[in-house]
């Protein structure tokens, strides 16, 4: 045979192609792959399988590159994902595609399954291929589930805890199964390494094997054409491939759209786009010690999450039923579909069952979303009456009956309204937690960008010692039962102050705070000593007496004292000049003035009569008073109810550790890391 007669033609490329064809027979293979008959011509309804293969390919490409930058351990998982998302060039796009393509894959799976069931494509001889498809579906869902944990952020961590605890409900082997998946009795390094191995190794390897068989069988049986055939047969290549490719492009466009539309919106609004904020979310690092009320599974598992609530109050057996028995039964029915489909009635049942499941899942998802976001579509004004009744009756039916005048119809209506109020409260708590989660996540990202970078122990250490995020939590937990922390210029301040029983610590250490203390109108008010035993004390009578007397204390004197005290605290304040501060220092230390009671500088006043003003409002001073307010340097014997937070009583550990007290002090003083751009 002369070269000219070979299919490759006489050119160099052609000869090369011939060379390889002689040795591999690739042309025949390619021909076999491309020239498959499509009975009745190419159709859009056949694209779902191809788009799934495409989506899987995208996940392999993006997943492999992510793998090249990901580090699976409890101290590096969040950190490496942060690095990918916020620091590596294009990392946000790569991770965004991987994240949203995973979601697209779940949708495409559902569409593929629906199409197969509706068309009856599972019927003989395609039963085995249908079963393979179901296995493939479970593998994909398994990859989605395991991938959710890998960033080791709050939402992934808590969602996975729930999922693995449910696995523990399986009879007999449950606890062992859970321990195997988690990699030990606790969540940590080996949870991540095992989930990662599942996500990027075992499951995709299994998927590839199954997929090869699935495709081979698909080819063996040929495409299951939807009857009636209205057009002449066509070839897979290029007719169906074109439709498939367009569908793939559409899927990709949707994924890119989800990632990029927020950027376009920001640009249109005149803002600057921060690439790290595009694409997939990264929550705050996983913290087993921090409650996370916003924990929800990914949206496509939300219906299962909601389904479990149906069995609320049934205890562990309810969860077992909801999480394992019912889904297991549903899967069993699906596996039986090809057999049921032998009968026309069976096929109808299959279609109805599938639609039932889809509709049920949609309904449950809707219910779950409604529970979480309920407060958004309820007018708060419409709840006023219910709020009042609820506060009055405290959930007591008899009281409620009395409150509505014994009218049963009114009582039923009131009960309905109170129930609605509870739902709104529930939803508000979720929304608040979700908002807080966003704040925490942004803060963690800000902290991770410090020039000192993340400590070797990991991000959690940094977050746990961060005054900006931990200060408010510690304050709420330990201080807020007495102290308010509210901007006095805030219109809502009055209510908060009325409920407090100690000084308002907002801006403590600032000139403004000190000015208020030295104001005769305020010192005895709720923002200072008004709600304490010191209301009748020397300081209040001094400020309302001596200090208010313009002959002894001029306005300049008071301003100088304020400046001197603010200088002790050392917070950033407008410059008032060194002379003013010096004059203030003289006044504070003078035995005729503040120094009569307060120790300051070298005035020699004994400690114990009034708080030491050296370093007032500074970090060390605040740490000191929180540690032990009964110390002679602070209130000594006249301390009014404030606990000694840093001192252990009778062998018990102190309420706050030294580091926690430092965090509260830094937070009160507004001392924490801020990124330069903020």
């Amino acid at each position: 045979m002369s070269t000219a007669q070979r299919p490759g033609g006489g050119g160099l490329l052609g000869r090369l192609a011939d060379f390889f064809d002689d040795r591999t027979g690739y042309r025949a293979i390619l021909h076999e792959a491309l020239y498959e008959r499509v009975p009745g011509g190419a159709r859009w309804r056949y694209v779902w399988g191809s788009t799934l293969v495409f989506a899987f390919l995208v996940q392999v490409i993006t997943g492999l590159v992510l793998w090249a930058s990901y580090s699976a351990s409890a101290q590096t998982a969040w950190e490496s994902v942060y690095y990918i998302q916020h620091e590596m060039a294009g990392g946000w796009l790569l991770r965004g595609i991987h994240h949203f393509m995973a979601q697209a894959m779940v949708v495409l799976l559902a569409l593929h399954l629906l199409q197969v069931v509706i068309d009856g494509a599972y019927r003989a001889p395609r039963e085995v291929n249908f079963w393979l498809g179901l296995v493939l579906m479970m593998l994909v869902l398994g990859m989605a589930l395991t991938g959710y944990l890998l960033p080791w952020d709050q939402k992934g961590y808590w969602a996975t805890r729930v999922a693995t605890n449910l696995a523990g409900l399986v009879p007999l082997v449950g606890p062992a199964l859970q321990q195997l998946v988690v990699g030990g009795p606790d969540y940590g390094h080996h949870t991540l390494t095992r989930f990662f191995a599942l996500h990027a190794g075992f499951l995709p390897a299994g998927l590839v094997v199954m997929l090869v068989v699935h495709l081979a069988l698909f080819r063996k049986h040929g495409l299951h054409a939807k009857q009636p055939l209205t057009r002449p047969d066509a070839m897979f290549w290029p007719d169906q491939v074109l439709k498939d490719a367009v569908a793939m492009l559409a899927v990709m466009a949707v994924v890119l759209g989800v990632i990029l539309v927020p950027a376009v919106r920001t640009m249109l609004a005149g803002g600057t786009v921060v690439p790290g904020e595009l694409g997939a979310e990264l929550g705050a690092p996983a913290d087993p010690s921090l409650p996370y009320a916003a924990a929800r599974p990914e949206w496509y598992f939300l219906f299962l999450f909601q389904f479990l609530k149906v069995f609320e109050g049934w205890g562990a057996s309810g969860e077992f039923l909801g999480a394992i028995v019912v889904p297991g039964l549903v899967m069993t029915v699906m596996f039986l579909m090809p057999i049921l489909g032998h009968w026309q009635l069976g096929h109808r049942f299959n279609v109805a069952f599938t639609f039932g499941i889809v509709a049920g899942a949609a309904l449950l998802t809707g219910l779950a979303l409604n529970e979480d976001y309920y407060a958004l579509w309820v007018d708060p004004a419409s709840l006023a009456e219910a709020e009042r009744l609820d506060a009055e009756t405290e959930g007591d039916a008899a009281k409620l009956a009395a409150a509505v005048g014994g009218d049963p119809a009114k009582q039923a209506e009131a009960e309905r309204q109170i129930k609605r109020l509870r739902k709104v409260r529930h939803s508000r708590a979720f929304l608040a937690a979700a908002r807080q989660a966003k704040v925490d996540a942004a803060r963690a990202v800000e902290l991770a960008g410090r020039p000192e970078r993340i400590p070797p122990a990991g991000m959690l250490e940094l977050v746990r010692t961060d005054p900006a995020s931990q200060g408010p939590r510690l304050f709420a937990q330990h201080c807020a039962s007495c102290h308010a922390h509210v901007d006095p210029t805030d219109p809502a301040a009055a209510t908060a102050l009325a409920h407090s029983s100690a000084a308002n610590l907002f801006g403590f250490g600032s000139a403004a705070w000190m000015r208020g203390l030295l104001d005769a109108d305020q010192v005895g008010g709720p923002a200072y000593f008004g709600n304490t035993a010191h209301k009748e004390g020397d300081m209040v009578s001094f400020v309302t007496g001596d200090l208010a007397d313009a002959d002894t204390w001029s306005q300049e004197d008071i301003a100088a004292v304020v400046a001197a005290m603010a200088a002790e605290a050392g917070l950033p304040e407008p410059d008032v000049g060194r002379e003013v501060v010096a004059r203030g220092r003289d006044l504070v230390s003078s035995g005729e003035r503040c120094g009569a009671c307060h120790a300051f500088g070298d005035n020699g006043t004994d400690l114990g009569s009034a708080p030491d003003l050296n370093g007032w409002g500074g970090r060390e001073w605040i740490v000191g008073i929180i540690t032990d307010p009964t110390h002679a340097r602070f209130y000594g014997d006249s301390n009014d109810r404030m606990p000694r937070f840093g001192v252990s009583d009778e062998g018990e550990s102190p309420a706050l550790t030294a580091s926690e007290i430092g965090i509260v002090a830094d937070w009160l003083r507004g001392q924490w890391y801020r990124a330069a751009t903020h």
């Binding site: 290029p238 793939m248 970078r453």
Partner: protein, 184 residues
């Protein structure tokens, strides 16, 4: 398909060709985003630069006996590894030596110029030896022929700061070539 009308055939062929081009274009376009993002991220390391070479305090001059024999000292500095910041960590080692009565300190990088192994002192033989391919160097870093190493040990800039502090300019050099070229 057996076409009988040549015009229809031609039309079909043209349509088929167009379909093929469009299918390839659409498929290629759809794959472009993930592949492009992947390459973009894979190339990220090229954007990274090592910390600028700077003088680091290593020890005090008294700690180096003036007997001409090199002593090994760790280089301790803050190190950033991708997202982690390691404060004050040993990142390498230098040999410091001083001639009798001299207050000039010679600093030799412990990194072998051949392929980067850690060069060790052989006190018994009064020389340096690299354990990997047996390059030998004299105590002042000179090359001992024959040697796999193409150049003498890399000398680092060294100065004496306040209070006799020995400060060394910590740098890495390309290995395997005759010239001493600092890594960027």
């Amino acid at each position: 398909m057996q076409g009988h009308d040549p015009a229809v055939d031609e039309q079909g062929a043209r349509r088929g060709f167009l379909s093929k081009v469009m299918a390839l274009a659409a498929g290629g376009l759809a794959t472009l985003a993930p592949a492009g993002a992947g390459v973009w991220v894979l190339l990220d390391p090229l954007r990274r630069k090592s910390a600028a070479a700077s003088f680091l305090r290593v020890t005090e001059i008294e700690a180096i006996p003036d007997d001409g024999v090199p002593r090994q000292f760790p280089i301790v500095t803050d190190r950033v590894d991708a997202w982690t910041g390691f404060p004050a960590e040993p990142v390498g080692a230098v040999y410091l030596r001083r001639e009798k009565g001299s207050d000039v300190v010679q600093a030799l990088s412990a990194t072998c110029p051949h392929a980067g192994c850690f060069v060790e002192m052989e006190p018994a033989e009064h020389c340096f030896r690299c354990p990997c391919h047996n390059s030998s160097f004299t105590l002042d870093g000179g090359i001992v022929a024959p040697s796999p190493s193409p150049r003498p040990m890399d000398e680092l800039e060294c100065r004496i700061g306040h209070g006799g502090a020995v400060e060394v300019k910590w740098q890495n050099f390309f290995t395997g070539i005759a010239e001493k070229v600092a890594r960027p």
